[in-house]
Subunit: 267 residues, 2 copies
Amino acid sequence: MPRAITAFSNPLVKQARGLRDKKNRRREGLFLAEGLRILTEAREAGVLPQLLFYSDAAHPLLHRLIDETEAQGGEAIETSADILHKISGKENPQTVLGIYRAFDTSLRQIDRNAAPLWIVAQALRDPGNIGTILRTGDAAGAGGLILVDECADPFSVEAVRASMGALFTQRIAAAPWAEFLGWLRDGEGELVGTSLETDIDYQQPTYRKPAFILVGNEQAGLPADYAAACDVVVKIPMLGRADSLNAAVAAAVMAYEVVNQFRRRGL
Amino acid sequence: MPRAITAFSNPLVKQARGLRDKKNRRREGLFLAEGLRILTEAREAGVLPQLLFYSDAAHPLLHRLIDETEAQGGEAIETSADILHKISGKENPQTVLGIYRAFDTSLRQIDRNAAPLWIVAQALRDPGNIGTILRTGDAAGAGGLILVDECADPFSVEAVRASMGALFTQRIAAAPWAEFLGWLRDGEGELVGTSLETDIDYQQPTYRKPAFILVGNEQAGLPADYAAACDVVVKIPMLGRADSLNAAVAAAVMAYEVVNQFRRRGL
């Protein structure tokens, strides 16, 4: 049975609110996700929260979330919109939020042959970009996102929100470049870099499975030695005055090119 | 000659800071843009600020901005990092920001034959999406962005920032749906809707110039009657569990498909 919490000073409220900070997420191995749509995506992917806070139990999908959370040993807590506002920090908080255990982000949990493509982001700083790439990866049939070097936290509230639930359906790994490259070369896989420093149009190569699409940092792009380690480096044509695309947009344009090639070849 | 302002209470500082609010932007017909990169994009597109605030004049590109702003009758104001922080509201403010006159956003300033494609966004709520679409439109050779119905403000700080300067190189128009449709049908142009409620793959049609790519609201997508008014409605394949892409990502995937077709056909 759900219990009710109405006090702002309740330790669970404090703990949940603390998960907006990266250092607390790291220390506790937990993260926050908000909104019935995202929590339902998680449930359908088999992931349930340890703690579920809600302020309005009218929706049948919320009933299912409560039931399944409790059945898995988690706890459902009825609370007020004010307390949800305090936890989420948003002006118009969602009526439900969950605390989830962070996933294993080691490369060894990635089965590269489980998907035709993977997205690799290097030193990506914007959590919204990370979430958007996860969402795009899911839509394009990617297996997941590999975060190389120091990236924004994929378990941040902004990344989870932008992923629209794809955080729970895509695999996520994080590794320094050398470790990633060692892992990649220890098996099949074509590493496709995107850069402005090449004349090869992104529609020119014939991509192979599994394709690893590598996008670089928002400001600096891919370091030259990272690009040199790729099997092919391609450029999305820039037909205007700007010299680059948003990183999540570049990842999407590349991912759909690879997908379209695989579709044409019946792969 | 630039003058110096060091007082937080200076009316120009107050006015600049006020432009973070939409109602002040509307009333004064002005908007803020931040950062040397974006202001230089603007200058190269022939657009100079009325007022230029800067805290560090070391960069040669800033010297050019100051000179040209003053030559055009604008004013350059040397100030402190603290005051730039106060104006921008950002923790780490850029060292330069400009106040610009808002552009005419009527449909009549759009020359549809000036570009092979245009992006049309309906009821888009996220200013970051609007800025990202402007940036993508520039890269894909679009003529500009037409905002249909009630959209986020393209002159908001978030939209200007996400556009990375494309706000100054892309045409921007805003109109209610009925006015837009009347304008569109009064000339050439294929209206290409994106929707999940169709079986036509986005790579199936042969697109014609000028193509108008229509993306709908982030949550609701395109209204059914808007989709019915399109020449063709297409779907980007969704191969995972998610049922949609981020609106700016969908616009980009569509725009590059249209561009790629035109490139193949030598258009």
